[in-house]
């Protein structure tokens, strides 16, 4: 860690989250005993409660940005990341991305019965690599994971730190342009922290975008350029990592100490001061492909970007042969993004 490397230029939008909300319906069990009748009643007619995980979240993340997401447990951080990854669809709003984002979650063991090495191969193939490509990145993945001989042991026996190291290494092998890390790195040790940081810096330098969810404000301050503080499904602050993380740290310290009054004051202060980007995706009818644009015709005949080309000697920007992009993201039409920070108080409904 220590001295910060020169941060890359911030480029165009990589991820656009437009007024997204998400809720889950869960069955709540009414208290009142554990008798069979009560349980049967709960099961059939139990109260269904709506848990709002996200209530209108907007943001634009740009290429080369390292966005930290902090907040208390249950504030919607992981949900946001799952939605950006496309694992789930939001109830309202929409999410656009430049490339298919890669999610690194906490449930790291892929196929517990298989060795780490076999999991590497499976993961690469699942991302759409050919066996040859998977073989060519294999060594790099094993090196980055720094697992040593453990790579040949079944993944089910890995510690959570080891498993998340391997998952990180597999994800990076596909050269993702957008990487979403859900506390997966917090279990790694110092060696791995060093290597993963290098890998992420390389990604950012290639105009990649990284989202990092972490509880520790310190980690966010050290790694990120920008931080988003989420609370109860809303973004209450969005800005410079140092500032936001510092405010969050104060708040959470007070909460932990039981100083609810101070904490609440800090929170209101943060809400007042903080802001969320207001994002509006504008589909410009002028750009629709009705007009015969000569370049457009063979570029995307069916409205979809052609698949990443492989095999071929085309060198990737990094100059490392063997790395490939795997992508299944369809592309819609011309959009423009209006992004503007807006005070949190003004959007209270």
């Amino acid at each position: 860690m220590g001295e910060q490397p020169e941060r890359p230029q911030i480029g165009g939008p990589a991820v656009v989250v437009e007024d997204v909300s998400m809720s889950y319906t869960v069955r709540t069990s009414a208290p009142g005993g554990r008798g069979l009748a009560v349980r049967a009643r709960n099961r059939l007619f139990g109260k269904r409660e709506k848990v709002e995980a996200l209530r209108g979240v907007s943001l634009v993340a740009r290429q080369g940005e390292f966005v930290g997401v902090i907040g208390a447990n249950g504030s919607g951080k992981s949900t946001l990341l799952r939605l950006i990854a496309g694992v789930e669809r939001p109830d309202n709003g929409r999410i656009l991305a430049r490339r298919q984002p890669t999610l690194l979650g906490v449930n790291a063991a892929l196929q517990p019965a298989l060795s780490g090495s076999a999991n590497v191969r499976l993961g690469c193939l699942a991302m759409g690599m050919s066996p040859r490509q998977a073989a060519s990145v294999h060594e790099e993945v094993v090196r980055l994971s720094a697992l040593g001989d453990a790579i040949n042991r079944p993944m089910g026996g890995y510690s959570s730190g080891m498993a998340s190291r391997l998952r990180f290494a597999i994800a990076v092998a596909a050269r993702p342009k957008i990487l979403l890390i859900d506390e997966a790195l917090s279990t790694g040790d110092a060696t791995f922290a060093q290597r993963s940081e290098e890998a992420m810096d390389a990604m950012l330098a290639e105009a990649g975008t990284v989202f990092l969810v972490n509880h520790a404000a310190k980690v966010i301050q050290e790694l990120c350029t920008r931080a988003i503080w989420m609370h109860a499904g809303r973004i209450i602050m969005d800005g410079d990592a140092e500032t936001v993380a510092e405010k969050y740290r104060w708040w959470s310290w007070n909460v932990a100490k039981g100083e609810t009054e101070v904490a609440n004051k800090l929170l209101t202060q943060a809400v007042d001061e903080g802001s969320m980007q207001e994002v509006r995706v504008v589909e410009d009818p002028a750009f629709e492909r009705k007009s015969p644009r000569h370049a457009a015709r063979n570029r995307y005949t069916n409205g979809y970007r052609p698949a990443a080309v492989w095999p071929g000697p085309t060198p990737t920007p990094s100059g490392k042969p063997g790395f490939v992009e795997t992508d299944i993201l369809p592309v819609i039409s011309e959009v423009s993004v209006h992004g503007q920070p807006r005070s949190a108080t003004s959007r209270e409904r």
Binding site: A97, A126, S275, A296, A307, E334, S336
Partner: protein, 295 residues
């Protein structure tokens, strides 16, 4: 307005225009053509995943891959004792041992595809959460795995037929088991697609499927002849519409008796296969966006 923002308000106020190839919706279903193309790209994944599942199961057992041979053998033996020796359903059936093993072995293939397909999404959750790929690869993996599993079973089948008398009437028709097998596999694949989505929507289905599969086993003429035990003509017709009945009959005619099967049976076999695989796939595809969500 906040000053802590890295986002430059100047650029923010002016709309940022993004070229049309740059931004796409995340997590939405691909159009059918692209979807199939992406699925085809994952063929190596499907194969590797199927093999790893087999290896994973084998490694847990002391006898390992030996169970791939022992399991069908013991199963066949069990059914032979109950139906051949105790219940004597064998009367009127020529070469009952062959009749029985073909029925039991081939039926098990379908049954395992169906029960495995129902749980394909649940079992594949770690992969779904980790990687972006067409989810149809998961039920497909189940069927490919069962087909690979069937290879040693088929060897056992041939060995049993060769060793135990009476001798089969071997003709050129033996090769007809290949198209019949393709049809049965497609049919099973369609079932797997169909039940994979149903099982995701309602996990309780997997219990029901186990019970229904047992009914199906008895209704398919695996160890007795439908003609002998079912008198009611309407019921008999319904039972004969059952695709598994046709598949088993086709195998027996080709492998055991060396006679031509009726044309309607072939039509049923091919028809069911395509209807199931096409509609099953489309049904699964329509639910593509929902599979990441825990049901």
């Amino acid at each position: 307005m906040s000053t802590t923002h890295t986002f430059d308000p100047e650029t923010a106020r002016n709309a940022v225009s993004v070229p049309s190839w740059a931004l796409g919706p995340v997590g939405s279903r691909l159009p059918l053509g692209t979807y199939i193309e992406q699925l085809w790209k994952r063929r190596h994944f499907v194969l590797a995943e199927s093999r790893s599942k087999i290896a994973g199961t084998a490694n847990r057992n002391l006898l390992g891959y030996g169970w791939l041979i022992l399991n069908p053998l013991l199963n066949g033996l069990g059914f032979y004792v109950v139906f051949g020796v105790i219940l004597q359903t064998s009367r009127g059936i020529e070469n009952f041992v062959g009749y029985l093993v073909i029925g039991v072995f081939f039926f098990q293939l379908s049954m395992r595809c169906v029960t495995g397909g129902t749980q394909a999404i649940r079992n594949g959750r770690p992969m779904i959460r980790a990687f972006a790929f067409p989810r149809a690869a998961l039920p497909l993996t189940v069927v490919v795995r069962e087909v690979l599993n069937f290879v040693p079973t088929f060897a056992v089948l041939i060995a049993v037929l060769a060793v135990l008398p009476p001798a089969e009437n071997i003709t050129w028709r033996v090769i007809l088991i290949v198209p019949a097998f393709i049809c049965q596999t497609l049919f099973a694949l369609g079932c797997a697609f169909f039940l994979a989505r149903l099982g995701h929507i309602l996990p309780d289905i997997s219990n029901l499927v186990n019970v229904l599969a047992r009914f199906w086993l008895y209704a398919s003429g695996v160890f007795f002849s439908i003609d002998r035990f079912v008198d009611h003509p309407a019921l008999q017709t319904v039972m004969k519409m059952n695709p598994m009945y046709s598949y088993l009959h086709l195998y027996r005619d080709a492998l055991l008796y060396g006679v031509d099967s009726p044309v309607w049976m072939w039509l049923l076999a091919v028809g069911w296969a395509f209807v199931f695989v096409i509609f099953g796939f489309l049904f699964f595809y329509r639910g593509e966006e929902s599979y990441g969500r825990a049901a």
